[in-house]
């Protein structure tokens, strides 16, 4: 569904993305992991057209997305740190995005109910805690029933209850055949969600493998342990 071909992005002298090639299909739930500053968020923002790559192309349904905007109607994006106009209330923000998208039907209000946001609709954004802001971000990402969901650190800052609600929602959407792209550091949380793993380091993709194959190869039960094992092996090799 989404094809990333050879994209490179530099911020000044720093190469954030270095010749990245990836391919995402519908029905996949992909975990994008790697150390801080390895280019995960930049990669996601490139797919959304918020960051424009220096070279290479990104295709959605075989069509390049450069200078396009309509494809974003099929993407729900939950940013790592949601930034919203301070003075607007939760209700106004949701209404505004509905207006901007011009979509009034086929709305998925499940998360609003599950998080109990209705009773906070007239609270201004500046008074909200980090976790509640994250809830608003999550609601906006799922609201328009998009076929692609891009979630940047979705559970960071959420309390265990909310984080469990969100996880269940992600699983539900995965079963409906959507493409889900998650970045996270909490590997244990991902165990029962994901089908594939992409590991990035220093702006390039180290490996892209199916979850079960990765576990078989390393002989580990948990993703976190499997990754740790691969990293250790890599270190051994470079030391030798």
């Amino acid at each position: 569904m989404i094809q990333i071909k050879n994209i490179t992005k530099k911020f000044g002298k720093l190469t954030v993305l270095d010749q990245v090639n990836l391919n995402f299909q519908a029905g996949q739930c992909i975990a994008l992991i790697g150390p801080n500053g390895c280019g995960k968020t930049t990669l996601i923002k490139s797919v959304l057209g918020m960051v424009l790559p220096d070279s290479g192309s990104i295709e959605y349904h075989k069509k390049p997305i450069a200078r396009e905007h309509q494809y974003r109607a099929n993407i729900g994006y939950m940013p790592q740190i949601g930034r919203y106009p301070d003075h607007m209330t939760i209700g106004q923000i949701i209404e505004m995005i509905k207006k901007v998208r011009n979509q009034w039907t086929d709305l998925d209000q499940e998360l609003i109910e599950a998080f109990g946001l209705e009773k906070m609709f007239d609270k201004p954004m500046r008074t909200l805690s980090g976790g509640t802001t994250q809830k608003v971000s999550a609601v906006l990402a799922f609201l328009f029933n998009p076929e692609i969901l891009i979630l940047d650190e979705p559970t960071a800052g959420l309390d265990p209850l909310a984080s469990e609600i969100l996880k269940e929602k992600i699983i539900k959407e995965k079963q409906r055949g959507k493409l889900i792209l998650i970045t996270s550091h909490l590997l244990n949380e991902l165990d029962d969600l994901i089908t594939e793993i992409i590991f990035m380091q220093d702006g390039s993709v180290q490996f892209h493998e199916k979850n079960n194959i990765l576990k078989q190869r390393t002989g580990e039960e948990k993703i976190s342990k499997a990754i740790a094992k691969i990293l250790k092996d890599n270190q051994h090799e470079s030391n030798r």
Binding site: M50, R83, P85
Partner: protein
């Protein structure tokens, strides 16, 4: 009108600063007309007020508003909206509200005390100056991510056109008084929107005689209908070009 312009317009009109700006402008205009015994003198006072406060408020308010909307812009960029549309909507929203504030604040006294071509022209020139300085604000806010720097640039832009530029022109006039620089002065005037606007109104007010020989040259050029049209076109260029450059930069910007 598209949804985004509506949202921005409502947001700005709710802002108290625009209301205060309207009130101050109208207080200044009403009082300067009421204090002077003939309307030509009143017009000159109003002209100076317009050429001093309108650019300052337009450029500062627009720059600060743009920096404060960075979250809003970021939110919209991840939605299925063209970047061009976001930037244009911001521009439309800001210009519409500031021109409206100007029209209410200064336009009403102008049309009451000087209901002729000069009054109308002041209104038009004031509106154009508003648009020009909002356009310059767009340029200064896209040049840097740092809010303090951006506002600094905006203030420098205003300072340059409102004060420094006149100083430079005067300096050149005195230094090069022995040379035939009158034609050159006409070109110099076109380089500053505020001077362009001032000369245009002064020509209409028939006080060009006070400017000596340069005034006569100005009258020769700006007094004719061709000169008038050219200077209006120049003002229009001043309002479009900075915005156009900022639009091109915005399309390439990483958010």
């Amino acid at each position: 009108m598209n949804q985004i312009v509506k949202i921005i317009l409502l947001d700005i009109l709710k802002n108290k600063i625009v209301l205060i700006y309207t009130l101050i402008l109208s207080a200044l205009c009403w009082s300067s007309f009421a204090l002077e015994d003939n309307s030509a003198k009143g017009l000159l006072t109003v002209l100076n007020i317009i050429l001093f406060t309108v650019p300052l408020v337009s450029v500062l308010f627009a720059t600060i508003y743009l920096y404060n909307s960075s979250e809003f812009i970021e939110l919209l960029v991840s939605q299925p909206v063209k970047r061009q549309k976001i930037w244009l909507s911001l521009f439309l929203g800001l210009t519409l509200s500031m021109v409206l504030a100007f029209a209410v604040g200064a336009g009403i006294p102008l049309l009451i005390f000087a209901p002729d071509t000069i009054g109308l022209m002041m209104l038009l020139v004031g509106a154009l100056i508003t648009v020009i300085f909002i356009s310059l604000a767009f340029l200064s806010s896209i040049l840097t991510r740092d809010k303090a720097k951006g506002i600094g640039i905006a203030i420098m832009v205003w300072l340059f056109f409102a004060l420094l530029f006149d100083g430079i022109v005067l300096f050149l006039l005195f230094q090069l008084a022995d040379y035939p620089i009158e034609k050159f002065m006409v070109v110099m005037a076109a380089l500053s929107p505020i001077d362009l606007a001032r000369i245009q109104i002064l020509m209409q007010l028939d006080v060009s005689a006070m400017m000596g020989y340069t005034g006569a040259i100005f009258k020769d050029f700006f007094g004719t209908s061709v000169g008038l049209i050219v200077s209006f076109l120049l003002l229009c260029l001043w309002s479009i070009i900075p915005f156009y450059i900022s639009l091109r930069k915005f399309k390439q910007k990483d958010l």
